[in-house]
Symmetry: C2
Subunit: 299 residues, 2 copies
Amino acid sequence: MSVLVVGSIALDSIQTPTDSVKDEPGGSALYASIAASFYTSASVVATVGADFPEDVCPMLEERGIDTTGINIEEGETFRWSGVYEEDPNKRRTLLTNLGVFEKFRPELPENFRRTPFLFLANIDPDLQRDVLRQVDSPTMTLCDTMNFWISGKRDSLTQLLKEIDILLINDEEAREFSGEISVLKSGKWLLEQGPRYVVIKKGEHGALLFGPSEFFSVPSYPVYEVVDPTGAGDTFAGAMIGYLSECSNPGFHELKKSLINGSILASYCIEGFGARRLLSLTKDEIESRKNSFLEMLRP
Amino acid sequence: MSVLVVGSIALDSIQTPTDSVKDEPGGSALYASIAASFYTSASVVATVGADFPEDVCPMLEERGIDTTGINIEEGETFRWSGVYEEDPNKRRTLLTNLGVFEKFRPELPENFRRTPFLFLANIDPDLQRDVLRQVDSPTMTLCDTMNFWISGKRDSLTQLLKEIDILLINDEEAREFSGEISVLKSGKWLLEQGPRYVVIKKGEHGALLFGPSEFFSVPSYPVYEVVDPTGAGDTFAGAMIGYLSECSNPGFHELKKSLINGSILASYCIEGFGARRLLSLTKDEIESRKNSFLEMLRP
C-alpha cells in the first residue's frame, strides 16, 4: 500500500560543535518520505520556493517518491537555522524564515486522494484537518504536532484528535497539552481525546505507545556518535507509516513493530548531516540493525 | 545463596504535594535488604542511634533479614528531610543530619564474611573498599555511589571500580564521572575502568546495562500514581542482587533479568511512602507485574 506525506520541505543551516552545513535540504516531508520509501511507495505534498535546488526532487523520484505534489512557488524556500550544543538534546534556533511555506495550503492532486496511509507532519492543525477532508477514507492517519499549535490552536488540535488514528507527540508537548506532569497520564489523557493510538517520543529515551488497553515502551537504538539530530522525529514517523502501510490490518502488534522501525531509521538519520545518511542507507543495514536491536531488547 | 547489604539506615521526613511523613524508617540498607528479602536471605550492616524505633529491626527479622550487623550507637540516627515537587523527579533536600552515620566504620560480624553476594550501598568509597577487604572472595559485588564521592573521592572511587563486579550509577553521575555528555559513552568509559558490568539508572526512563560486549536497555515499569520516589534506586539494587544470588553462575542474561526485577520492585516502592508498600508486597504481586512487564516489553 502507499503512503502520502504532507508537510514542509526546507533548507536548513545547522551548526554542531564540530561542523556545519548551509542550506541542507530538510523539512518534515523530506525526512518522512525518504524514511517511508524504504518500505513502500510514497508521495509528497509540500511547497518550495523558486530558489530550491533543482537536483532534490529527481533524487527523491529515484527513490520511487512521487514529487508531483511539491509545488514550486514564487519566493523563497522555508529556511531554518540552528545550533546544537555539546549535548545534542539541546538546540537553539537562530533563524526561521517561513518563505513560501507561510502560504502553504495543501491541495491534493486527484490521484493522491485515495492514498490509504497518511502522515500529516507538523503544520497548522486547520490545514491538517483540511487535508483530511480531501482524502477518501484512509486506512490509517498518523499525525504530528508541536507546542506552537498546542498553545495557539488548541481547539482545532482537539478537534483533529477525533479525526486521526495515531497521534505522534513529544513528551514535553504531551505534558503541555494534557496539563499532566506524568508522561503516562499525558498519554492516557491524549488517548481519551480520540486517537486510537498515541505515541510519545522521548528523544534519546525512546518512545511510548499507548493503545486502547495496551502499552509498549521502546528505548532508542543506541548511537555513540550523534552527528546531527535534525529530522530524527520525522524520520521516525516516516518509517512508522511506511512500515504500517505494508501490514495487512495493522493493530497494536504492528504498531509496536513500526516503533522499532522508527527507532532504527532515526538512529541512522542522526549519524549524518541532514538526510545524508538516510540517502546512503541500504535495506540490509536496516535489517542488520533491527536484528541487533531485537537482541538488545530481549528480556 | 545469601546477600549482604552494607549502607545507611535513616529516619526520613518526606513532603509531597499531597501528604507528608515524619521520621519514616528509610536509608539505602533498609530499602535494599527488604527488596532482596523477596528473593533470598539477607543480612544488613548499618548503624543507628539510640533514638531508632525499637520495632523496625524485629520487623526486618520477621522477613528473614539478619539484623545482628545493625549497631545501635550513642547519639542520633541519620535523619534526612526533603520535599518532592509536583514533578516527582524533582526533589529538594531540607535537612541532612548524619548523626551516628558520620562515624560509621562497617565491621562485618565473623559469620557475614563469607556472604557470596554483596551490595555496597552509597557510602564513602574508602569504607566500601574496607568492606571488600573484610569479605572472603564474594561471588558478586554490586556497588552504588553518588556525585558527592565522584567529586570528593575520585581516586578512591576509581580504585574501587577495579575491585567490584557491577557498578550502579545514575545518568547524571555517570556523565560527571566520565566527562562524557553521552550516557552511552559514559557507560562504555565506566566499563573500561574495571567493573564487569555497569548499570546506569535513568529514573522514570529506565536503566541501561553495559556488559563486555553486550548492551541491554529496560524502561521503567509504568506507574500512574507516584506517591513517594524515596528509596526507588536502593530497592532496584536490592532486587537486583537478591535475584542474582539465586542464579547459578550469573552472566549477562541473568543481569538483564535482575534489572527487570529491579524495575518491578522499584515500581512498587514508589507507590507508597517510605518502604510501606514494599512491606505489604507479596511474591504473587511481583510475579503478576513481572508477567505484564514482559508482555509490555515484547517487541
